[in-house]
Symmetry: C2
Subunit: 225 residues, 2 copies
């Protein structure tokens, strides 16, 4: 047993210890801020259209003289990074080797491969997953969730954590709305019930619907830095 | 330091220790086998059409006098179990409370809620995720992966583990093939490269395409028990 404390003993109280991931994320954030980068972490299911949205976004932002770099996260392969590279944007692929999310050290390991000093926006495309990525700070400024029309409007019931955690929700593949039973208004209500402050955009990278609103959101956040 | 072994000392070698999950999974398997249940674990992304496939499958198998029960796994909510219940099939919902996969003890906890002795087939609908569920034995006889047409044919590159692990791959939402760039032949080649023995079926629960082949696969496995 420890000795009893005297009345004069000061008891140290540690309000919050940073985890190893949080420490590295703080370092990443400082690095990004030092280069003036706006950093946006994109989370979504497999096949929700993250890479396709990025391909169209890079071109639209380039037309507005906004320079974009991309950090691609996948369990395996570099197919997404190869697609991004066709735009000429700087990109680095991180393979998690089985892990269902990126973490801050993984992102750290990719930073040297990007010319951060010349970039306005860095998009992080997280591993396709609605659950695991939510809990890991990477050093980003904003979190966004994509939800594609074919996945169905009921997903906020089943995966509430991601919709609670994000700053913006983007409904992708709106060109498929005529062929599917996705109720946009129901989805808006479900998200609002979890996260009243998150805007919800509806876009199609294929037809261009909503893309100006989406890139406008990015440019607004860039201007506010 | 331990003492040196004498020449006569027998060294026990434990070839493989069962994990806690594997021990419970073995118990689940014995329970299912004792009741003559065929147990199929369904894994897929969020919104790939697991529940919709099950709804149509339950009706088709009922018409063939095959009795089906369902174990529904989700992070939160019981919306999927409520849908299954509309068919009259016995169903139990398991909420993982944040975990990205079912495990054997979770399945165990749901078994008392099902009338196993009267069931031919038990489907386990795992949490929507292409990564985490692959590593956890639940006591099932077969693993299957669904991949929906909107997710894209490139997913085996990025999530090889699940395609290596399953006994059957089902491409869902084939009714959307006319509207999307999903290359069925490319997908078949990619899966075959990872898992040459897994059959690949193409189905639409909406139009009925391929559903007889899929339920035929289930009935074949049931007959072989």
């Amino acid at each position: 047993m420890a000795e009893s404390s005297s009345a004069a003993t000061r008891v140290p109280v540690v309000a919050k210890l940073l985890t190893a991931n949080e420490q590295v994320a703080a370092g990443n954030r400082a690095t990004f801020q030092g280069h003036g980068n706006l950093v946006i972490n994109i989370m979504a299911s497999p096949g929700a259209g993250k890479t396709t949205l990025l391909l169209a976004t890079i071109e639209l932002l380039r037309a507005a003289s906004v320079k974009v770099g991309v950090i691609e996260g996948d369990v395996a392969s570099q197919v997404d990074a190869d697609k991004i590279a066709t735009t000429g944007a700087p990109v680095v692929q991180i393979n998690t080797g089985g892990s269902c999310h990126l973490d801050a050290p993984m992102v750290r390991s990719g930073l040297e491969a990007l010319p951060l000093e010349g970039l306005d926006v860095v998009f992080i495309e997280n591993v396709g997953n609605l659950i695991c990525p939510v809990s890991f700070d990477l050093g980003q400024d904003y979190n966004i969730a994509l939800l594609s029309v074919p996945e169905g409007h009921d997903k906020p019931y089943k995966y509430p954590g991601i919709f609670e955690a994000v700053d913006l929700v983007v409904v992708t593949k709106s060109d498929l709305l005529p062929y599917l039973d996705f109720e946009v208004d129901t989805f808006r209500e479900l998200v609002a019930g979890l996260n009243p402050n998150a805007p919800i955009l509806v876009v199609s990278a294929k037809t261009g619907e909503g893309m100006d609103t989406w890139t406008g959101w990015v440019r607004e956040k860039l201007a506010a830095r």
